[in-house]
């Protein structure tokens, strides 16, 4: 029986999260003795529903969704690893806005009021000394819609992932206002984790371990040899040239989850931060051990040893 | 025979209406009383003609007899049982009611399906009656490709083909030319004689009524009621001699024409009551 891994992207994205797809393609899972089948869905809610329907064994979902589900006691899911702790976001704007300080009075696109990207952007802009309240906030929904709206001139700035930014074919009149590094520095939160239902953890523990082991191994290989990632991604880069992919791979240095991506401090910080957002104003409190399980990563690290180049496995 | 005879008489009645009332709801909420206290007993094998001014309720009587609508008061019985549509009753509708998406043959076939016939037998019968009304050449045509009279003949073929024990006919020859009408009358008499069926026949022609019927029922308007019932005591078959020169024929004809004239012109319920007739007009003038 194959191990079904639910992912919310449709083909390998140009971020480290691609390890899940590439591990299938490059045979890493097979080498660990687990037959992984990728199930592709559009969004986190579909991924959650898939786990509950028994249509998947592990899913890559947003931490905010996991916290909601745990707090309302409506699903028994735990995070076991995070192949890509934070998707690299940036703030793009019209070219005539060259400094965040110019933003007040302009329109700014978010997914919806109170959504994770809204809260992240608030935090990033605050770090740049800009109060989000002084901006004209527009709720625009899906990331591609936000990018379209920016490109069409209907908003002046918005947050998007580096993948969306890179795939925009025509960027005339647009520029990056806050780069991905600055963005992450201002808002160092984990936004996606791989969860499994507790029942799967009990019944297929060996498979879960094998999956995590494969992801960690591949992350280490890419971390050591960025060119390997660029080569593996070549068919999926869209309009990106091999050079650009190579450049990107280099820029991901230090972000690969070489130790399973489970840092208790980061996760706790993330939890506290998410609880400070508007969406969670009335949500019951939870503790880290309710939604995260370190035993899998610990077992994997016991076998593979800890990689000292990054991704500190704090407990 | 269906059911057991009952009612007041001991003789079985083919059709029996007793004290039948019928009122239609109209759109402005005002109920329209259409039939009032209609009582009519017809024995099997009897040919009854129904005569009366336009709108007096003749069609409504036929629909009641077929069990298509129910009376508001009184009873309608066929061979002693409450009237209901069945293959032993045939109805030739005033407005033909052909199925537009069925060919002539399929229209006739549709009616035959209620009979316990084998496929081949049914097909043979449909073709035979289509030939009888002179439409063999048009058996595969659709109703919209037919002339008015041809449509009426399809309706005739459909009813005849069922060879029913009771035939309800609503002005069945109105759209057919005089000669074809005569042919159809002959075919009708043939069928009637052969099968001893009961016929309830609505017509606007006094001549046709006398020529065909054993009994003539004259209806008056608003609400429809039976004014008079007359037996036609002329020898049959009436085709073989010049029936019109028979003095009984002439008396009957004159009487009916005068009564019709009264019903249309002098009855205060008539739509033409008090109509001024410029030009001389005699009540017993021929009916065109």
């Amino acid at each position: 029986e194959p191990f079904r891994l639910v992912v919310t992207h449709l083909e390998p994205p140009v971020v480290p999260n691609s390890v899940m797809d590439l591990a299938v393609e490059l045979g890493y899972f097979a080498r660990e003795g687990v037959d992984v089948e990728l199930v592709r869905v559009q969004q986190t809610p579909s991924a959650v529903a898939a786990l509950q329907a028994g249509e998947g064994d592990m899913a890559n979902i947003g931490v905010d969704a996991l916290l909601q589900l745990t707090a309302t006691d409506s699903a028994d899911l735990v995070a076991v690893t995070s192949p890509n702790k934070s998707l690299p976001f940036l703030i793009a704007a019209k070219s005539d806005i060259t400094d965040p300080a110019q933003l007040p009075g302009h329109s700014f696109g978010v997914g919806r009021l109170g959504s994770l990207d809204h809260s992240l952007s608030t935090k990033v802009l605050a770090a740049a000394g800009v109060d989000m309240e002084t901006l004209d906030i527009l709720a625009l929904g899906q990331p591609p819609v936000r990018a379209q709206a920016l490109a069409a001139g209907h908003v002046d700035a918005t947050t998007m992932s580096i993948g969306v930014w890179l795939s925009l074919p025509d960027k005339t009149g647009l520029s990056v206002l806050v780069g991905q590094d600055a963005y992450y520095a201002a808002a160092p939160v984990v936004n996606k984790v791989n969860v499994v239902p507790r029942q799967v953890l009990d019944t297929r523990r060996a498979d879960v371990e094998a999956v995590v082991r494969a992801l960690v191994t591949l992350s280490r290989d890419f971390s050591n040899d960025p060119a390997a990632w660029a080569a593996a991604m070549a068919p999926y880069g869209g309009d990106l040239s091999p050079e650009q992919l190579q450049e990107l791979a280099t820029s991901f240095a230090g972000t690969w989850s070489v130790n399973g991506g489970m840092n208790a401090d980061e996760l706790r910080y993330t939890q506290d931060w998410i609880y400070a957002t508007a969406d969670f104003a009335t949500t019951p409190k939870v503790t880290l051990d309710q939604w995260a399980d370190f035993s899998i990563v610990d077992a994997v690290l016991a076998q593979l040893g800890v990689d000292e180049t990054g991704d500190r496995p704090a407990r | 025979m269906r059911g057991t005879p009952c009612g007041t008489g001991t003789v079985p009645r083919a059709l029996s209406l007793r004290g039948v009332d019928k009122t239609f709801a109209t759109r402005d909420g005002q109920p329209l009383r259409v039939l009032s206290d209609i009582t009519l007993d017809v024995g099997p094998g009897t040919f009854v003609a129904l005569l009366g001014p336009s709108g007096c309720g003749k069609t409504t009587v036929l629909r009641l007899a077929n069990g298509l609508i129910q009376p508001d008061a009184g009873s309608v019985e066929v061979f002693g049982a409450p009237a209901r549509p069945g293959p032993d009753m045939g109805f030739v509708f005033q407005s033909f009611r052909l199925i537009p998406w069925a060919t002539v043959r399929a229209n006739v076939d549709f009616a035959l399906r209620a009979l316990p016939l084998a496929d081949a037998e049914r097909a043979e019968r449909a073709d035979r009656y289509i030939a009888m009304v002179g439409l063999s050449r048009f058996a595969d045509s659709y109703p919209r490709e037919l002339s008015g009279g041809m449509k009426q003949r399809v309706a005739l073929a459909r009813a005849f083909a069922c060879e029913p024990r009771i035939l309800l006919m609503d002005e069945p020859f109105a759209s057919i030319d005089a000669q074809t009408r005569e042919l159809m009358q002959i075919e009708l008499m043939r069928l009637w004689m052969l099968q001893r069926s009961m016929v309830l026949f609505v017509t606007h022609s006094v001549d046709e009524a006398i020529l065909l019927a054993d009994r003539i029922v004259l209806m008056g308007p608003r609400p429809g009621r039976i004014m008079e019932t007359l037996d036609v005591d002329l020898p049959r078959p009436r085709w073989t001699y010049d029936v019109r020169s028979d003095p009984r024929y002439r008396t009957l004809r004159a009487h009916l024409a005068r009564r019709m004239f009264e019903l249309v012109m002098n009855d205060p319920h008539s739509e033409f009551f008090g109509r001024d007739l410029t030009g001389h007009w005699t009540p017993d003038s021929p009916d065109g």
Binding site: D170 | F91, I99, Y142
Partner: protein, 246 residues
């Protein structure tokens, strides 16, 4: 003649497309040539064909099921008036509720695979067919029904020979609308359950702004719609031949 006019209109449309592509940014519309190129590439890679196959399987199964359920249900609701009057309000309520809202429930009950997708298509396509058939049965000529009763036609014969043929223009229009909505729902299903087929490609190319490929998928969907409605037109021509309108 008609073919000529249609071609002329098509040429006009492609012209407009050219103009639009020239005037709107590259993020939104690719030119016809780029699209043609993308179509060739997609076709050669075999990706388009396999996606079309996936989509058609979901679409045709769901649509056929919808027709099979909706036509009898519509006739039943139209003939048994008490049933129709009781249920129709719920039918309209269900029809007005976004299918997307049911997707979590559908996933839990039917999973992410073919069954769930077919069911979403079914839900979308059934409503127009049902509503139209229901209306068609109510519009049937009472005089014909009375004639049929008078010749003691069985319920089944009245259904097959009077009610159904008389409702044909309604039902075919309902099938047309149902076919288009079913196709749209196929895309929705392919987006919201396990991503697959043309819907999956649409999302993929849309999210990554590969507009030439995106347009190829859009046009493929439109063509599927055209083929299905043309098949329906041929069916209608047979059924409605008696009108003699060609």
């Amino acid at each position: 003649m008609i073919l000529l006019l249609r071609t002329a209109f098509l040429v006009l449309l492609v012209g407009l497309w050219y103009l639009a592509a020239a005037n709107v940014g590259r993020n939104v519309i690719a030119t016809p040539l780029e699209t043609l190129d993308a179509a060739r590439r997609l076709a050669e890679s075999g990706r388009l064909l396999s996606a079309v196959g996936d989509t058609l399987r979901v679409y045709l199964t769901g649509f056929a099921l919808a027709a099979l359920v909706a036509i009898p249900a519509g006739v039943l609701m139209g003939t048994v008036r008490i049933l129709g009057k009781t249920l129709d309000i719920f039918v309209f309520a269900l029809a007005a509720t976004p299918r997307v809202a049911f997707i979590p429930l559908i996933i839990v009950l039917l999973g992410l695979g073919l069954e769930a997708k077919v069911f979403i298509v079914f839900l979308g396509a059934i409503m127009p067919i049902l509503i139209n058939t229901y209306a068609g049965v109510q519009a049937v000529d009472d005089e014909l029904i009375e004639m049929a009763r008078s010749v003691a036609a069985s319920r089944a014969r009245i259904f097959w020979r009077i009610i159904l043929p008389s409702a044909v223009p309604f039902t075919v229009a309902g099938l047309r609308i149902g076919a288009t909505i079913g196709l749209i729902n196929t895309v929705v299903a392919e987006l919201y359950t396990a991503v697959s087929g043309l819907g999956g490609l649409l999302a993929l190319f849309g999210n990554t702004f590969r507009m030439a490929e995106y347009l190829v998928i859009v046009i493929t969907l439109a063509l599927i719609g055209v083929v299905v409605t043309e098949i329906l037109r041929q069916a209608e021509r047979r059924l409605e031949g008696w009108r003699g309108k060609g």
